[in-house]
Subunit: 328 residues, 2 copies
């Protein structure tokens, strides 16, 4: 460590800070030290005896989905006698940046699965420098370096949902999207738009909204869309929570589902089955996504880093009671 410090022109504690993944090191110092460490074949002691566990890191957690994904990961890691760690990144962005990355680098999990990630280039570089293998599930951000990832077929699912409404005879179809910064929310939105356009009933701007993945967002946008003169007869939602909010908005306006309004969600959360009417939705295979992410991660851990891998699992349209032909 003294040698590296001398060559890099820094103090040994600075080298130690780099090795420990601390963020209080200037970016170019970190790069210089890391470069020297690599050149001298240094492996941090922790890397030789890592704590044998796979860590799953959640951003913007939707509770039901998280547990299904954990179940899928657990099934795989159990087979390999690894532990399973859980981290939720707090919603507060100012508090989040430093802590979870630093913590992971200190705790040395065998590998990390990041769910709904929005990690920054710096965080990615930090994890890469720590040599902790990383897989993303449903990545939302655009990491500067490629990260192997697992996702579901958002595009195909949204197309299937749109075609379902078209086949029922709807022509006044509205779409509520997810956050603009979410890649997969955009994918769903654009798939609806494309399917509508190809069917010759292009999405009208007055029937398209961008919302959040929440009940409250569905309630607000639903109320507004359904209060218009000539309102939509069907709404495609960014996820199930939003769709449940739309259902509440419809009831508040005295509209019956599915007689007066058809509603389609996305995800397949349990609550879609508990509400009345049961929600038509596009089911994502969260357990399979978790298992696939774990398998991909174990492949990364076992061997040389493969080329960028992307696994896309199928989604399934589940037709329940919230969709019907429009009243003529």
């Amino acid at each position: 460590m003294a040698t590296i410090a001398r060559l890099a022109g820094v103090s040994p504690p600075t080298v130690s800070r780099v090795l420990n993944g601390r963020s209080d090191v200037a970016a170019d110092t970190r790069r210089r030290v890391e470069q020297l460490l690599r050149e001298h074949g240094y492996r941090r002691p922790g890397a030789i005896l890592p704590s044998p566990r796979i860590e799953v890191v959640f951003y913007g957690l939707e509770t039901n989905l998280a547990i299904e994904m954990m179940r899928g990961v657990q099934a795989v890691v159990n087979e390999h006698d690894l532990g399973l760690g859980f981290t939720e990144v707090p919603a507060d962005p100012s508090a989040r940046q430093r802590s979870w990355c630093d913590r992971l680098l200190t705790q040395r999990p065998t590998g990390v699965i990041i769910v709904h990630s929005q990690f920054t280039a710096e965080q990615h570089a930090q994890l890469a420098a720590g040599a902790i293998p990383l897989v993303a599930a449903d990545p939302n951000g655009q990491p500067t370096q490629p990260v192997p990832s697992v996702s579901a077929a958002n595009w195909q699912g949204a197309v299937a949902a749109t075609r379902h409404l078209l086949e029922l005879g709807h022509r006044q179809i509205g779409v509520i999207g997810g956050p603009v910064e979410s890649l997969y929310a955009r994918e769903r939105m654009e798939a609806c738009r494309a399917a509508l356009e190809i069917a010759g009933v292009p999405l009208r701007p007055r029937l398209a909204r961008t919302g959040e993945f929440s009940f409250e967002s569905g309630l607000a946008h639903g109320s507004e869309l359904l209060s218009q003169p000539d309102p939509p007869t069907a709404l495609l939602c960014a996820n199930d929570l939003q769709a449940l909010g739309v259902c509440k908005a419809a009831r508040q306006l005295g509209l019956r589902i599915p007689q007066d309004l058809s509603v389609v969600g996305f995800d397949g959360i349990d609550a879609g089955n508990w509400c009345d009417p049961a929600l038509t939705t596009v089911r994502q295979p969260f357990r399979d996504i978790g298992a696939a992410a774990a398998n991909l991660l174990l492949a990364l851990i076992a061997g040389p880093v493969p080329a960028l891998t992307r696994v896309e699992l199928p989604t399934t349209l589940v037709v329940r009671d919230s969709t019907a032909p429009p009243r003529s």
Copy 2:
């Protein structure tokens, strides 16, 4: 180890099996070996450098509650720079007995929180022999040795729910309980019974049922209770899922909530807010339960084992739209 083996009259591999928490050792042999190990001040090597992590083990997982509890545990373990592990015990009882205990003993977490546990005396002895500190949250079983535990005020919550219905004027009140083998389900059921009896409207056997903590159970028992001549005007349910099932049963029978039937749940899950009408319920502080369990566990890890500790956190009646006075 050879000394212990000689004193115990067993082979060294048997001592090793006891140290590793394996279950293929006769109970009295295990006790004899453990006694000798204690007398000779033996600490297993793994115990000196445990993997720094708190493990949360879930039985019979309800997804929404689990994440809230994990959030509470995470807030505490983060402060102490510990990792957070997640284990779900599979529902299949034949597969479950051995694996999770053995796995924990191999992985050596710093401590274990068991949620909705039904662990056996043998499992408890196994964990005790492994010297892994243990706290139970919402314990369902009766471990043969005392385990510090954290729970919510089930009795007070169920009394508050019952009094709420009585104050609204209901006299035909039915109760659907949880599984008979669940201590806290029984606590809720008996609290309802006591509150009704004290109010002079004792629970009639024809209006009392024992079910499961599930939507399907609420649907089945609700359908049956509400199809009776002279049906109940209000139902107290063992949890929110069951209450949502009762709501569906009511709608199938053409009954309006709350005009024709009042329904009260227990837990305070998110879905109770997303359904229509929003569910009156008894909220449990799951995040606080997780945090309290983690703090209790850290106290156990830090110091000498305290006397049996039981922490009970308050529950809160949350009145929403599923309860109203009975039609006169």
